[in-house]
Symmetry: C2
Subunit: 455 residues, 2 copies
């Protein structure tokens, strides 16, 4: 038996099984391509990252499982049952969060550029509106006043991180490296510290606004390993702002960007390590500045979802070329429309398992290709795999984050169905798309309907 | 008056107008973000590239306007009225082509990896099935035999292009350069010449298959400027194959990849230049090998659609930072979910016009940002533009190709509506998406509906 995860293994009969259900059986029952989401893997991931912080942090910890990584309603319902929150963006994600029964106190509303309608919804629901800039702060105050309600807000900050200016971060997306400090200083979100202090003063003077939190999410600095440095600098700056304004946040949201483990790839820092280091940095720096330890919010997306999702495809054809390219292509019935994770530090390199014959011997180097018209539609490039045959069922591991949420319909190709598996049961949680779905918004102008075609 | 195209100018009142309709009026009537497609620009582009080849080529020319660049039903209807064809991929694009009333003789069915259902549909419709590999050829024969019909096919070829092995092609997508020859030899489509000759012999022996055409599309070699070299090599190899098999194609499909003009960018070769050079290369090389000049098919996508489409957004907010980033961000109500053209040699750098004040004076350098949660959601980076104000209507030019067809729904953000404009009239041809549309495939397992949320 090969074990790929706590709920994913090859069983006794050499067939890949997720929560005890054979993946080839899922392929036969629901068709391919197919996403498979494991309820208990989501629970396990959520619980582990929650405990990694809650066990060491001296105040409440709210894990807002990142919605942009997986906005499925069923996946969200699992998080709600676990007592988790979410970082909604805009009306669509807020709708999913509330339809799933989320506690509004655990939901934050993100975005640098919210519409009036979105701000109204956040006020309606009583969720924490993470305000990006002075224009938005003004708009939130205006909308709240018109509604006769109080808007709960936090303000988003950008850090200088000048001590990291000379550092280069390199991954598959940034082969030439980028500076975490430059990234953080110049990206589109949040306010520089001086503008932040100004915004706090403005918010303090606004009657219909309750300033409750600070939001920080760097992304690259954390991924580059500087989570202690960024956290200390963040809380130091909040100490300065408290000295200037008297205000300290009741909620501190440190965002996401925690690298998750992936089968067959190098292990990142453990979440327990993130929890210990970040918790200590906040607690000690708050103490130094005489600030109460705030409620901690975090927004892990990839960590919650990635290992909970498989993508299952079937081999349709092979092509070998021994004279010109000297390579072999294997064609499957999925395609890169559904492998579009834009934040993946490994650039979508996912471990592939022959689900119907996990321990198959032998090896050949192939390109695994999708069925679209694009030369770039390669799902695995020059990958060493066991010899593949027409009819084989392949499972791409660790596909639960960002792939479905960024999927497109190029070539008018309908998207996969998604099933959830749980303790030996399975059910569709996202029905398979049809051509009629993809074309459902099309209409021809009347003036083009009546003329004849040219010869 | 500033003229951006034959149908696109600033009119007399400093407002951008497309086919005589003011773009700010379209924004007010239909809302933003909004795609605007000009019927007569599509006609003009189609006619020009058709004539560029038909005026110089000694046999019939069929322009198969690339479906993957724009699979809109209304856009397709315009091509049908012009007498054009299309390169359908799979059932979805074939459905669009046939719903729009295409002549099946002008439709080709592409793809390296077609399902049985797709092959059946191609046989039903009598369209030319462009077969990629021996497995597919076998499947086509099997399906045609079962259906008791004859499958019209062409075979796709890959070329050695060894004379270009040392050449480097460089563009914004390939800053370090790639070899057009290596690209062409090793990509996933088609057969090497020796395998091609074998496949011709197999097809000649198949009762239910009518081998009518040859399909070639290199992409990078053409874009790199080697359209004469690749065409000569292509027809030379077909001459060799004729010598071996006695077969010559009745249809020669040379694919797409013709670089189109874009406002404000360097001018590529004219389509008349492509037409002259390619026509001469085919005619002379056919004569050399004693082959009849085949019907010429081409598959220009970008050329037909790109300049026919605007994308219109509204400015929501500004943010200036004079202490940390020293830059200015302008936030609009569109986002990069709808700017995802993966084949763009200029990496989505589109000219931006202030539609409500085209001649506005002054300049500032800004990042134009979308409203999603992603730091990379930048629609124009460090771009010099006139000073922008909240409420301004911006038009991104040359957005008609690949942006809508690759659009996604990340952050559960509904996609734009599309209107077609024509001689002073306008109408919706793709209705605006709603959150309900985006969530229409979601369902929660019954076992998750009944439990209480944790605290």
């Amino acid at each position: 038996m090969t074990k790929f995860g706590n709920y994913l293994d090859s069983g006794s009969d050499n067939q890949l099984a997720f929560e005890g259900i054979k993946v080839p059986d899922l392929a036969a029952q629901y068709g391919t391509p197919l996403f498979v989401l494991s309820e208990n893997t989501i629970r396990q991931n959520f619980r582990r990252i929650h405990r990694a912080f809650a066990d060491v942090y001296p105040a409440e910890v709210i894990v807002c499982a990142g919605m942009k990584g997986n906005w499925g309603l069923a996946a969200r319902r699992v998080i709600v049952e676990e007592g988790g929150g979410g970082d909604a963006f805009g009306l669509g994600e807020l709708t999913v969060a509330m339809m799933a029964g989320s506690d509004p106190r655990k939901i934050v509303m993100n975005g640098a550029n919210k519409s009036r309608e979105t701000i109204e919804a956040a006020i309606d629901m009583g969720v924490l509106n993470q305000v990006d800039n002075p224009d938005e702060l003004r708009l939130v105050g205006e909308v709240a006043t018109q509604m006769g309600k109080v808007a709960r807000i936090s303000l988003r900050i950008r850090l200088p991180l000048r001590s990291l200016a000379e550092v280069k971060y390199v991954d598959a997306r940034y082969p030439e490296g980028i500076s975490p400090s430059y990234w953080e200083r110049t990206f589109k979100f949040g306010l520089a510290p001086d503008a932040y202090a100004e915004a706090v003063k403005i918010a303090q003077g606004m009657k219909n606004v309750s300033l409750e939190g600070c939001h920080y999410h760097g992304g690259i600095p954390r991924r580059a390993g500087f989570y202690r440095e960024e956290t200390e600098e963040l809380v130091e700056i909040l100490g300065d702002i408290k000295a200037q304004t008297g205000w300290a946040p009741a909620y501190l949201n440190i965002g996401g960007g925690f690298v998750s483990e992936r089968y067959g790839a190098d292990a990142p820092p453990s979440v327990e390590e993130y929890g210990r280091v970040i918790s200590k940095a906040i607690t000690e720096t708050c103490a130094k500045h005489g600030m109460p330890v705030p409620v901690l919010m975090l927004e892990p997306g990839r960590y919650c979802w990635e290992s909970a999702g498989l993508w299952v495809v079937q081999v349709n054809a092979r092509k070998e070329d021994h004279t010109l390219a000297n390579k072999t292509w294997v064609y499957v019935d999925g395609n890169s429309n559904e492998m579009r994770d834009p934040f993946d530090p490994r650039c979508s390199v996912h471990h592939i398992v022959v689900a119907n014959d996990v321990e198959r011997k032998g090896a050949e180097v192939v390109d695994v290709c999708g069925q679209t018209c694009n030369a770039g539609d390669i799902l695995a490039k020059a990958r060493e795999l066991p010899p593949l045959k027409i009819g084989d069922t392949l499972a791409f591991l660790d596909m639960g984050a960002y792939n479905e949420s960024f999927a497109c319909q190029s070539n008018v190709i309908p998207r996969s169905a998604t099933v959830m598996v749980s303790n030996g049961r399975s059910t569709v949680v996202r029905r398979r798309e049809t051509v009629a779905d993809v074309l459902s918004r099309e209409v021809v102008p009347t003036w083009l309907m009546t003329r004849e075609a040219a010869e």
